[in-house]
């Protein structure tokens, strides 16, 4: 009887517990996937010259005009 009662609970028990290695791998995936996307999004806040000088840098003076131009542009 006791085993019957345990049954459904045991099924919900995690089959593969997450280890630090799992999280490290997950973090690596996120980095590889997100970095290019982040580069694009942040690159939108920089001028071409800023991008060329330091591709990995953060937008130093944030340039909002790029996005403003795109959203208000008629052909877009």
């Amino acid at each position: 009887m006791a085993t019957v009662a345990i049954g459904p609970r045991r099924r919900r028990r995690r089959l593969c517990p997450a280890t630090p290695l799992t999280y490290a791998a997950a973090l690596a995936i996120v980095a590889v996937t997100v970095l290019p996307l982040l580069f694009v999004v942040l690159g939108g806040f920089r001028t071409t010259a800023q991008l060329n000088i330091s591709p990995t840098g953060l937008p130093h003076p944030w340039v909002w005009s790029n996005y403003r131009t795109v959203i208000t542009s008629g052909s877009f």
Partner: protein, 325 residues
């Protein structure tokens, strides 16, 4: 008397009934034909107009020499002989085969591993699945432009490699004819790995926990239960993924065209970019069509062979046999 009437009435009834069934059958036959016409018609028209007709037209152009403006000049199979003996086209086929081999050898194990990782119970799993799927929803053209920027000399990738002390690895990613194909493959993998992950994840979730638990109770190690339980149950998913990936790799065009235009020195030309280059840039439309027909034949033969030998057990009864037959 009663019997007589009953008899005549019965025969009359049966005659009426027979005629009624015949009329009904006629009506249902007409109805069925109407239904078939209405339901199949539009699809058939679209299929003939946008799939079959272009193939026939391409085959027609391929036996002519045509610059896109003047009259067509019949040249027989000259375009085909020229295409098959052209080293650039031979290399294009080779490039496609390399991409196909790399796809199967690298993307399959990688997406399998990542799908199993994402199938684990861990914090932020839903977020992780969302992130992993992000590149797939990006349009191919945008992916190409983004990676073009990232891979520029002294660009994001180069800076990143130097920052972690791997500056010696920096190459002309898209300008070195020895590695451009592999650079493109990395971008393809970045964009399409999530497709395999999503497919395999769905397959993994279709495997009941009870089976794994039973395997565990029988003393199977995690590796053994993966190898002898999970993999065989995932086989249908893997087969359909392989089919879609190989066809996709054979038709690779957008990324190549935007990032390298098939260059440098045709080092990344593919079967699809070659005819576009010949047709629309050099105005050899007849020749371009001949190449396209060859490419179509390759894909078609692969698709038929694969369906016949690998996919048949998955689609048996659904596609290969008429319903109700």
């Amino acid at each position: 008397m009663i019997e007589g009437t009953g008899l005549t009435a019965g025969s009359a009834v049966s005659r009426v009934a027979r005629e009624a069934t015949r009329a009904c059958r006629r009506r249902s036959g007409r109805r069925q034909r109407l239904e078939l016409t209405l339901l199949l018609g539009p699809g058939l028209v679209l299929f003939v107009g946008f799939v079959l007709a272009p193939i026939v037209v391409a085959a027609y152009y391929s036996v002519n020499r045509w610059d896109g403006f003047g009259p067509l000049q019949y040249v027989g199979l000259h375009n085909y002989r020229h295409a098959l003996s052209d080293p650039v086209f031979q290399h294009a086929i080779l490039h496609n085969l390399i991409i196909v081999a790399l796809t199967l050898a690298v993307q399959l194990p990688l997406s399998l591993a990542l799908a199993m990782l994402l199938n684990r119970r861990m914090r932020g799993r839903a977020f992780l699945r969302l992130i992993v799927f992000a590149p797939y929803v990006l349009s191919e053209a945008i992916t190409a432009v983004v990676w073009l920027l990232i891979l520029q000399p002294d660009g994001f990738v180069d800076e990143l490699l130097r920052a972690v002390g791997l500056g010696g690895l920096v190459r002309h990613w898209l300008a070195d004819d020895g590695i451009v194909l592999y650079t493109l493959f990395v971008v393809i993998t970045w964009k399409y790995i999530c497709f395999g992950i999503i497919l395999l994840l769905a397959g993994l979730q279709g495997i009941p926990d009870e089976l794994r638990e039973a395997a565990k109770l029988d003393g199977a190690t995690p590796w053994k239960s993966t190898r002898h339980l999970v993999l065989p149950l995932l086989a249908p998913t893997i087969r359909i993924w392989s089919f879609l990936s190989v066809i996709g790799a054979l038709q690779l065009f957008d990324l190549v065209w935007i990032m390298t235009l098939g260059g440098p020195a045709n080092a990344s030309t593919t079967m699809a970019s070659y005819p576009v280059d010949r047709g629309f840039k050099r105005y050899e439309f007849g020749y371009g069509n001949a190449v396209a027909v060859v490419m179509f034949a390759i894909c078609f033969v692969f698709a038929l062979t694969y369906q016949r030998f690998a996919l048949r057990r998955d689609t048996a009864g659904a596609v290969t046999r008429m319903v109700g037959a």
